[in-house]
């Protein structure tokens, strides 16, 4: 819980700072837009967080977004598929990729980094090839309920944000209260011991990649209607890195076995505020060059993780002493 408190405090602090430097931060339009983005990023970041908890990684999400976006546009606009079918197919396509990743990682025992790095290249390339390197779009049509569900508002709140809250709540129960969630932590920290406790470690780990892609599939549709046009070479580029950063900032350890849903959501929100800060804040009347955006985000994440690591080491030092105490009391 301490980590979540820390990151939550940092998030609130940044909100206050940005609002103080530029009151437009609190404008309805900006808040809505930010909530929309937090929702979109948050949903797939939760998936990446779960993979990270199992000790794995997925680098292919951004490329999968491009592939999914291109396919979705073609299904809806060119092939005129009914919207529920197209949406299901778009999500199902990513789940299929996740299943393939899981299979290669757990059955063929390839390293997650390599498998998903190949995915990163293959899906981007496929998206460009299928789209003939041309930008695809959705135009003005609503496609039934699809656009309102992906990019609409309910009582002024972006649907993506509401979806995030619902998904986060479900995933909270799954990760922190269900047997499957406990297994995820166990295989992430010690796969062998989990196997010796009768856990089907391959299924647990492999399914994490599928669950992650399921969430990415939902995020991907939201993203497609957010941009409303899919440029196959740039759509979703490096988004997996934002997701990984959010998960790690929120307390997931790349060694596996650590992390929480609340932390991941707060990490996502923090990164969004940072991106917003770069757009909104001016220094001596000059806006921060948007080319500096990645510098600011990268720098803040580094500082956050450094602080956490240093604090963690100090706490570990004080914690190691009661351990000897237990032994000595014997």
């Amino acid at each position: 819980m301490k980590k979540e408190l820390g990151i939550g405090a940092m998030f609130l602090f940044l909100c206050v700072v940005v609002a103080w430097l530029n009151p437009r931060f609190l404008s309805e339009a900006n808040l809505r837009n930010q909530a929309h983005l937090v929702g979109m990023f948050g949903i797939f970041s939760i998936g990446l967080g779960i993979i990270i908890i199992t000790g794995g990684i997925d680098l292919s999400v951004g490329s999968a977004f491009a592939l999914q976006g291109v396919l979705l546009s073609m299904m809806l606009v060119e092939w005129k598929w009914p919207w529920p079918l197209a949406a299901l197919a778009a999500i199902g396509c990513l789940v299929f990729l996740g299943v393939v990743h899981g299979f290669l990682i757990t059955k063929v025992r390839l390293q997650p980094f390599i498998v998903t790095l190949c995915g990163f290249m293959i899906y981007r390339g496929l998206a460009r090839y299928i789209a003939n390197d041309e930008t695809k779009g959705f135009g003005e049509s609503n496609f039934g309920m699809l656009r309102p569900m992906a990019a609409g508002y309910v009582f002024g709140v972006p649907t993506s944000f509401i979806l995030l809250i619902v998904i986060a709540a479900i995933m909270y129960v799954v990760l922190h209260r269900s047997v499957y969630g406990r297994y995820l932590f166990a295989v992430g920290r010690n796969e062998e011991a989990a196997k010796y406790s009768g856990i089907n470690t391959g299924l647990v780990i492999g399914s994490a990649y599928a669950v992650s892609m399921l969430l990415a599939g939902i995020s991907g549709i939201i993203l497609a209607f957010y941009t409303n046009s899919i440029s196959p070479s740039a759509h979703g580029l490096a988004y997996e890195l934002y997701g990984i950063a959010a998960a790690v900032l929120g307390g997931c350890s790349l060694r596996g076995g650590e992390g929480s849903i609340l932390g991941i959501v707060l990490g996502t929100a923090l990164i969004q505020v940072l991106r917003n800060l770069v757009n909104l804040v001016t220094i001596h009347g000059h806006p921060i060059s948007s080319s500096l955006e990645l510098v600011v985000i990268g720098g803040v994440i580094l500082i956050g993780i450094l602080a956490d690591e240093l604090l963690g080491r100090r706490m570990a030092k004080t914690r190691s002493q009661p351990r000897e105490a237990v032994a000595a009391v014997k």
Binding site: S178, R182, R189, Y196, G198, I199, E324, A328, K330
Partner: protein, 508 residues
């Protein structure tokens, strides 16, 4: 100090060492002298302060009080590098070598001779040449260019000792050096220790295996609860004396004798072939109410057999029958569902998720038993975990303590508790007391016997001869993947077991 006939100043004197951690006195006024060419065994239960004392000697911790003298001169050891400089060498229980490198590269790790001026290239020819005498000195006849991982554990350990000697270690600390060695390997190591003593090297020998200590030690120093608990000169080093010093009372009977309850056949393994020894097949029966021991040399295939029965290794062929019905075990899950459980050899690697709490570890294999509407019921978990903590007498602040913060004996009890919570029919325990102190050992033997008395078939794999002889109602001895013989308790002698283990005689 009086006991050993020292003519000169001891090479090492630790005087009045105290070490305080916040709220705890880890060491209180502890003294330890080591003479030139003397083998001093340091004994004590886990948590008695042996590790803390050795960490102070190794420069990892600084004492709050007390002083350290080397050859009569007051020194301060501020870092590990200081300790090395002063001729103190450590060989730890868990080997700290890099087994991806060659033997010679390990010996010269961190102080490689260089050539090529600014290029800082490693003089490979020289490290090979210079490591040879150190290997010879230990009677280790291996090519220095051999990759370390191709050597058996016992030889890897000798490489560690060679490394310490190559740094001119005059005081060698061996921490549980034989915990992973077979009987003959242990004897060779003890011979090496005697050679080193003859060469004037002083040895501090830490071990839970009292048999070895009586063979090799010139003097025994015992610690208890962070204090000196007494010393034994050479002629008084006996099993009983050492145990009394460590636990402060007599340990009447280490092993609980079988109650003689009637044994009902429960478990049959027929023609089991494992991937480790595909050319051999193994058949044996285990009865409820008995403890069936498995002895043999390391590599004889005992652990592999156990892991195959438990379903974590593939069974090439064979038939497992439990209570009359045949089982098809393909995963650990199948074995667990049938009531066949394994306490594995390496509790930190395969027995426990050490970053998790006692509660989470105990409920892990049967997590579905603690659910309501598919969600984990923490209260039910806590109830079961507390029950096991009480039954096993696990010493911990509470069930939410992370397992990594427990001593070895208590960790082993958590592994046992994890299975006892599920009512075992067959419990296979691989090396039940490795690296565990005397007090906890006795408790684990008592637990295993109590389980057998309840009708469980307990199978114990042990490389500790004394333990194998002491605990088993029947003892199966394995040799190169096959059972060389099964001995009854009445006819059990160390000699018979060793003969079978080495494959010298036919099955008894």
């Amino acid at each position: 100090m009086v006991a050993s006939a020292m003519t000169s100043t001891p090479i090492l004197q630790l005087q009045g060492i105290s070490k305080l951690f916040p709220g705890v006195v880890a060491l209180s006024n502890v003294s330890l002298d080591v003479g030139l060419g003397e083998v001093v065994a340091l004994i004590g239960e886990n948590g008695a302060g042996k590790s803390t004392l050795m960490k102070i000697l190794g420069g990892v911790h600084q004492p709050n009080e007390g002083r350290i003298l080397i050859s009569g001169e007051h020194v301060s050891i501020r870092s590990v590098a200081d300790a090395v400089k002063m001729g103190i060498g450590f060989v730890h229980q868990e080997l700290n070598n890099l087994d991806n490198l060659e033997v010679a590269a390990n010996i010269f790790l961190g102080r490689e001779p260089l050539w090529g001026g600014p290029l800082h290239l490693i003089d490979r020819r020289r490290i090979v040449r210079d490591s040879l005498p150190h290997l010879r000195r230990l009677g280790l006849d291996v090519n220095p260019r051999t990759p370390l991982k191709t050597l058996p554990l016992a030889q890897q350990q000798l490489v560690e000792i060679a490394k310490a000697l190559s740094q001119n270690a005059r005081i060698l600390v061996l921490d549980e050096p034989t915990s992973s060695l077979t009987g003959p390997e242990t004897q060779r190591l003890l011979a090496t220790v005697r050679d080193l003593r003859a060469q004037g090297v002083s040895v501090i020998y830490i071990s839970h295996r009292l048999g070895e200590i009586s063979q090799v030690a010139d003097r025994v120093v015992a610690l208890r609860d962070g204090r000196n608990a007494g010393e034994l000169p050479r002629d008084q080093i006996t099993h009983e004396n050492m145990v009394r010093l460590m636990i402060g009372r007599d340990l009447r009977s280490f092993y609980v004798a079988p109650s003689g309850a009637n044994h009902s056949p429960r478990f049959q393994a027929r023609n089991v072939r494992t991937a480790a020894w595909p050319g051999r097949s193994v058949s044996f029966d285990a009865a409820g109410g008995e403890i069936l021991g498995f002895a043999g040399l390391v590599g004889a295939g005992r652990s592999e057999l156990a892991e195959t029965i438990f379903g974590v290794r593939p069974m090439l062929e064979g038939q497992i029958t439990l209570d009359g019905s045949p089982l098809n075990i393909r995963h650990a899950h199948d074995a667990i569902a049938a009531g066949i459980f394994l306490v594995p050899e390496d509790r930190r690697k395969t027995g426990l998720v050490t970053s998790m709490t006692i509660r989470e570890n105990i409920t892990l294999p049967g997590l579905w038993n603690y659910t309501r509407a598919a969600l984990i019921d923490r209260k039910a978990e806590c109830v079961e975990a507390s029950r096991q903590v009480d039954a096993m007498r696990i010493r911990a602040p509470g069930v939410e303590t992370r397992v990594m913060n427990l001593s070895g004996g208590n960790q082993q009890k958590v592994v046992l508790g994890k299975w006892l919570a599920l009512n075992p029919k067959i419990l296979i325990v691989d090396e039940p007391t490795r690296g565990i102190d005397v007090g906890a050992k006795a408790e684990i033997y008592r637990l295993l016997r109590a389980l057998a008395d309840k009708g469980v078939a307990v199978i114990v794999i042990s490389s500790d001869m004394e333990e194998a002889l002491g605990i088993s109602d029947r003892l199966a001895v394995m040799h190169e993947g096959a059972i060389a013989g099964i001995l009854d308790r009445s006819g059990l002698t160390e000699e018979k077991v060793m003969n079978l283990a080495f494959g010298k005689t036919h099955a008894a």
